[in-house]
């Protein structure tokens, strides 16, 4: 199997799905000859032409609106929002139009499409290239929300998202785009179902539920706790909507403790939903309060490196938080 970075895996998934199904098309800003600002669509226009790989005007609401129009006519658009921060001008199209079309038509219409966007910080992207807006979309029934954290997951989940009958928001942690290379399967063997979490580290003392870039940070934090004899079990949700509650419950019933680690700011983050749901389901199994380890409630991540560092979770901060839960 070839070794791929996460962004290469995204590109491979698009390539394979466009080869497999000629209804699949790509649209967005700079997705054509440039191949996207992160190179996620590199070479696609050269292979599939300027119709199926369409450079759009710089206007996100119409990127989403046009994508929905294409989906209503039987095409399967994969729209790129250049940064997740810039999906907000398309918020009405996504939330009121795309997400609700099946429900409001009593099942007569549907919009199978994917909206991809790089998400998260830690790359000196500052306030408007670093946001983690997944909670906005997880609050919307009708959408599915995916955040992969490895090249193989990115490829398998994106292929599944493209084949899904419902609209999928596919958020790619940009910090991970080139962070590691991994062997990634090709074709059907690469497919991964949506809605299935991965237990990425086995442990007996404490469960961590996390996703995206925070998976890697939590693994490093867990290695430090292991030196102190505390074994952390880490669950990477991979799909946030719908999320794999049962895998989390099974782990908590074993460990009796739960921390939720997420990169977005703390209040109203998707981790708050995870914490609430699992506290309700696992109350009798819990030996400690459920803890959220998240970023501070400031509007966004500053440009200055000292301030960026102060905002971002890192293995030290996460390890401190996990020790508190373990020792409660």
């Amino acid at each position: 199997m070839p070794e791929r970075t996460l962004v290469q895996a995204v590109r491979d998934a698009l390539y394979e799905e466009m080869e497999r199904d000629d209804r699949v098309c790509v649209l967005g800003e700079d997705v054509g000859l440039k191949g996207g600002v992160f190179k996620a669509t590199e070479g696609l226009q050269q292979r599939f032409g300027a119709q199926r790989v369409l450079d759009t005007p710089l206007a996100e609401s119409s990127i989403a609106g046009v994508a929905q129009g294409l989906s209503l006519e039987g095409f399967i658009p994969v729209a790129e929002m250049q940064f997740a921060d810039y999906s907000l001008p398309a918020f009405n199209q996504i939330v009121n139009e795309i997400a609700k079309v099946r429900y409001r038509s009593n099942g007569d219409f549907s919009s199978p499409l994917v909206i991809r966007a790089p998400t998260g910080g830690g790359v000196r992207g500052a306030l408007y290239h670093s946001q983690s807006p997944e909670a906005f979309y997880c609050h919307v029934p009708g959408l599915k929300v995916v955040i992969p954290s490895t090249p193989a997951d990115a490829k398998g989940l994106l292929k599944a998202a493209i084949r899904d009958p419902d609209p999928v928001i596919f958020l790619e942690p940009k910090k991970l785009y080139r962070a590691e290379r991994q062997e990634v399967a090709e074709g059907e063997a690469a497919l991964l179902p949506l809605g299935s979490a991965a237990v990425v580290r086995r442990g007996t003392d404490l469960t961590v539920v996390t996703y995206g870039y925070m998976r890697a940070v939590t693994v490093q934090a867990a290695d430090r706790l292991s030196l102190d004899g505390i074994e952390v079990e880490i669950i990477d949700l991979r799909t946030l909507l719908p999320w794999d509650i049962e895998s989390c419950v099974r782990s908590i019933e074993k460990t009796g403790r739960l921390a939720v680690v997420y990169e977005a700011n703390r209040t109203g983050g998707f981790g708050a939903e995870v914490a609430a749901e699992l506290a309700e389901r696992c109350f009798a199994s819990l030996d400690a309060p459920v803890s959220r380890i998240a970023s501070p409630d400031v509007p966004a991540m500053p440009f200055n490196p000292t301030l960026e560092h102060a905002f971002m979770l890192n293995p030290d901060k996460v390890a401190d938080g996990l020790r508190r839960v373990a020792r409660y």
Binding site: S62, F75, Q93, R104, G142
Partner: protein, 327 residues
């Protein structure tokens, strides 16, 4: 004799019947609203002739229609029956647009090519551009018709949709029903300059303004735009000037912000008598035939109301249906 664009006396009379049907149904809906039986209505009163004339120039069943909430008469012209629209007014389970989920005025029917609407203003405009792009790719000569009020032209989605459709020469007809009022905000506070049609120049597409009470003028403008769309020449913008002879909705009372004299003067300019007179002048309609048609329409409205009032509501257990494909 204006029989260009496939207009025959028979087709015009059928369109006139649709106009009468829309008015009679709407009048009945208002009575039912005041009687406490219908929660909320948006009236097409004053827009009916423009709407039906536009649809008469198109091909329901082949073309796509992104309608907005005042398009009650357009929905009838696209093939909705009086009974179906009454089921929608009563929000019954058998409402074909949404099974009673949306307020009446959000029309949708996949088999008729009517793309389900929503209640936010303007999002159908870029969606129509996308549908137009898909129709262009399919190359079957179909077009997408999208309508909206002049208030919607203040939305960014208006610009984004026209811009996209113009760049890609999508087969789309942008049809603005300018009734000069967005709830209580007059056109002067919505649009600088003479109106909406001039904006087409900014996108490099044709823009025309027509009198919305002139059936033949509206029909000709839409037929010309359709010809452009079907022959690969791209989108057009049409601004039909109409009157809003009713308040914005049953929850609004325009007497609070419009003068009594102005409202009385506009009521005298109701487009339906004008169309009737034009048909009589052409010798296509007599006063007697007009009355017969109105009687027939009124009986249809009676039947539609009886059926819809007696129809069942959606089951509470259906609340969670159709959120996703598998649920």
């Amino acid at each position: 004799m204006p029989e260009a664009n496939g207009l025959t006396p028979g087709r015009v009379l059928e369109a006139y019947r649709t106009v009468l049907r829309a008015r009679a149904l709407d009048d009945r809906r208002f009575v039912l609203n005041r009687a406490g039986k219908l929660a909320f209505i948006i009236s097409p009163r004053g827009h009916e002739v423009a709407q039906v004339a536009a649809i008469a120039a198109l091909q329901p069943g082949r073309d796509r229609f992104c309608l907005y909430y005042r398009n009650f008469a357009a929905a009838l012209a696209c093939g909705f029956t009086p009974e179906e629209l009454m089921l929608s007014a009563f929000a019954r389970a058998a409402d074909p647009s949404s099974g009673g989920r949306q307020t009446p005025g959000n029309f949708g029917s996949r088999r008729r090519g009517i793309v389900i609407g929503s209640s936010t203003v303007g999002p159908q405009i870029p969606k129509a551009a996308g549908i137009g792009l898909a129709l262009k790719w399919k190359g079957e000569g179909a077009l997408c018709y999208v309508s909206f009020g002049e208030g919607a032209t203040s939305q960014g989605d208006f610009h984004e949709g026209l811009n996209f459709a113009a760049i890609h020469r999508c087969p789309v007809i942008f049809f603005c029903e300018n009734n000069h009022w967005a709830i209580s905000v007059p056109q002067a506070l919505q649009v600088a300059g003479p109106g909406v049609a001039e904006r087409a120049a900014a996108y490099g597409i044709p823009g025309v303004r027509v009198a919305g009470d002139d059936f033949f003028a509206v029909h000709a403008a839409v037929a010309e735009a359709a010809e452009r769309a079907r022959s690969g020449q791209g989108p057009s913008l049409i601004e039909a000037e109409v009157l809003r002879l009713q308040s914005h909705s049953t929850d609004d009372d325009q007497r609070a912000y419009r003068g009594a004299a102005e409202l009385a003067a506009e009521a005298q300019r109701d487009p339906i008598p004008r169309l009737r007179d034009a048909l009589i002048e052409r010798g296509w309609l007599s006063m007697e035939a007009d009355q017969t048609m109105r009687d027939e329409v009124n009986r249809e409205v009676e039947r539609a109301t009886e059926v819809a009032e007696a129809a069942r509501d959606p089951e509470p257990g259906s609340l969670g249906a159709h959120v996703y494909a598998d649920a």
